[in-house]
């Protein structure tokens, strides 16, 4: 497991989280214009935890090799 979770992968997680944060901020701005529920702080943190956990699990299970030639 230690071999899979490299500093390089952690850096990728951080970059992904920054992109997700920008996406969430954009969505929350949009919620002022269209009737969609705003993501509040608690729900946002929960979403980040779920997504990061899923990314780590995928890394451990198949190292992000999807498709026929994995």
């Amino acid at each position: 497991m230690k071999g899979q979770i490299t500093p390089h992968f952690v850096k990728h997680i951080v970059v992904t989280d920054i992109i997700l944060l920008l996406a969430l901020l954009g969505y929350n701005l949009l919620s002022w214009l269209i009737p969609v529920n705003r993501i509040r702080l608690g729900a946002g943190i929960l979403m980040f935890v779920i997504i990061d956990t899923c990314l780590v699990i995928i890394k451990l299970v198949n190292n992000f090799n999807f498709g026929a030639n994995r």
Binding site: V15, T16, P35, A43
Partner: protein, 187 residues
């Protein structure tokens, strides 16, 4: 871009979309929605809603104008501690309120004023920005209860001043602009 990073971003955005849809479904099932108002206007108003504080408005942004609106009505839901101001089926504003009424229909009277004092159940309370409703009811903002200044989230306080709907100071001052005869339904 690194292939792994690209796949990670696509996967994360996919998961985020699924979670956002789940969040919307969960919110639509909550008891905060009333049947009298449209879903869209209620969602927009609930998005603007912030945590209750006696000193500030319940929603972010400017108060909507009540002028030239002929279908204004107010619906109070004691279970949620929320007061909905509607124009026909469109929810204009949602305010946090401590509702000390049993279910009934009332109307806004002409009388309104700055300060009031109540004595009931052995409790003395003073309030500001009051508007008379029904026979002996008030929309008002509590100032002191038994000589204790009301601060912060007043909605969770345990005192009960009968026949009052207690709002934040700014909300109570804004609701003084409700036209005479506006219907108030307590659910």
């Amino acid at each position: 871009m690194n292939k792994e990073l690209k796949v990670m971003i696509y996967t994360a955005i996919g998961l985020l979309l699924i979670l956002v849809v789940c969040n919307n479904i969960i919110h639509s099932k909550k008891q905060l929605y009333i049947s009298e108002g449209t879903y869209a206007s209620q969602t927009m108003a609930l998005n603007r809603l912030r945590s209750p504080n006696i000193r500030r408005p319940s929603e972010r942004g400017k108060y909507p104008s009540l002028k030239h609106k002929k279908g204004i009505k107010v619906i109070a839901v004691p279970q949620n501690n929320l007061l909905y101001v509607l124009d026909h089926r469109r929810v204009l504003y949602i305010a946090h309120a401590l509702i000390n009424f049993t279910p009934r229909a009332l109307a806004v009277n002409d009388a309104r004023g700055e300060k009031s004092f109540h004595m009931n159940n052995g409790q003395g309370s003073s309030a500001v920005a009051w508007t008379s409703i029904g026979q002996d009811g008030y929309l008002e903002s509590p100032l002191k209860v038994n000589q204790h200044t009301v601060r912060g989230n007043w909605v969770k306080k345990k005192y009960r001043i009968l026949n009052t709907i207690e709002l934040s100071k700014k909300d109570a001052a804004w609701l003084q602009k409700l036209p005479q005869g506006t219907g108030i339904v307590i659910k």
